[in-house]
């Protein structure tokens, strides 16, 4: 499995093989990763007095009332021990021969801010924003600026064999590329 370096990232983006919407700036493309920006939707758990434990192997997660309160904001203050769900500003489309890994930033980690919880893998065929699970393990509040802050970096890896359409995450990546090519 190969990690795509800057020249290959630039080629893939130019050819439309990897798509970022809105596009990423050239300065976001690093040696072997792409910096992604923070989106404008922040989602926190609604305070609940009593809530039954959720079983992850049954439909109880569906049976719960609304668990989240999602708001569109330009800024969000993440307090110490706080947790918020967010998304990348960019919709990322991964082709059938690549996968992605989303990673945090060491500079953010120095302030105690973690960017994702246990789920860095982006499957081939994925076409969506990337969900970020932001938590503040540090001792000071951190202000997050949507559209400006770059909380994460995407690393792209080449698969040993390109996947078939049935095995793709979304099953429609090819269609998306065809639409782009037709524009």
């Amino acid at each position: 499995m190969l990690v795509l370096s800057k020249p290959d990232l630039l080629k893939r983006i130019k050819s439309g093989s990897v798509v970022f919407d809105p596009p990423v700036s050239p300065s976001a493309i690093k040696q072997c990763s792409i910096d992604l920006r923070l989106g404008r939707v922040f989602s926190v758990f609604k305070p609940k007095d009593h809530i039954a434990a959720i079983s992850l192997s049954t439909k109880s997660i569906f049976d719960q009332e609304d668990l989240w309160d999602a708001r569109e904001e330009d800024f969000f203050t993440l307090r110490p021990q706080g947790f918020v769900l967010a998304q990348t500003l960019e919709t990322v489309t991964i082709p059938a021969d690549l996968m992605g890994l989303v990673e945090g930033r060491s500079s953010w980690a120095r302030l105690g801010v973690g960017v994702h919880l246990t789920a860095p893998k982006i499957d081939p065929g994925y076409s969506n924003t990337i969900t970020l699970e932001l938590s503040n393990h540090g001792g000071v509040a951190v202000e997050l600026a949507a559209g400006r802050d770059k909380p994460c970096q995407l690393i792209l890896l080449k698969l040993s064999t390109r996947l078939s359409k049935a095995d793709l995450y979304g099953g429609s990546a090819e269609d998306i590329f065809q639409k782009k090519a037709a524009r």
């Binding site: 939707v41 997660i61 609304d66 999602a70 969506n128 078939s164 359409k165 049935a166 095995d167 099953g171």
Partner: protein, 99 residues
């Protein structure tokens, strides 16, 4: 009604229930087809209204032998499972399916 033919990679629309999720563009979805169930989070682009109900996009990942059919719903499931169902069960929703 003649049995519908399915092929691996075929996209299907499955009837489902939908509730709010963590983001405006990501909902909680429940699918029940016969004995098979799927619960998870789905982007709104993989959902549609159809004949007064909601449907979620899936893709056939295995066909047969016999009557067996496996469909992967395009979303994030805590249980990380596909829908193991039968052709005759899914054919009951033929009006809700498209190739």
């Amino acid at each position: 009604m003649a049995a519908m033919r399915y092929r691996v990679g075929q996209e299907v629309w499955l009837p489902c229930e939908v509730r709010p999720g963590p983001f405006p563009n990501e909902k909680r979805v429940y699918v029940k087809l016969g004995d098979a169930e799927w619960v998870g989070f789905v982007n709104t682009r993989a959902l549609r209204e159809w004949s007064g109900g909601m449907q979620v996009r899936g893709v056939v990942t295995a066909v047969g032998p016999g009557n067996a059919l496996r469909v992967a719903v395009r979303g994030h499931s805590p249980a990380s499972v596909s829908l193991e169902t039968r052709r005759d069960v899914i054919s009951g929703y033929v009006g809700a399916l498209e190739a």
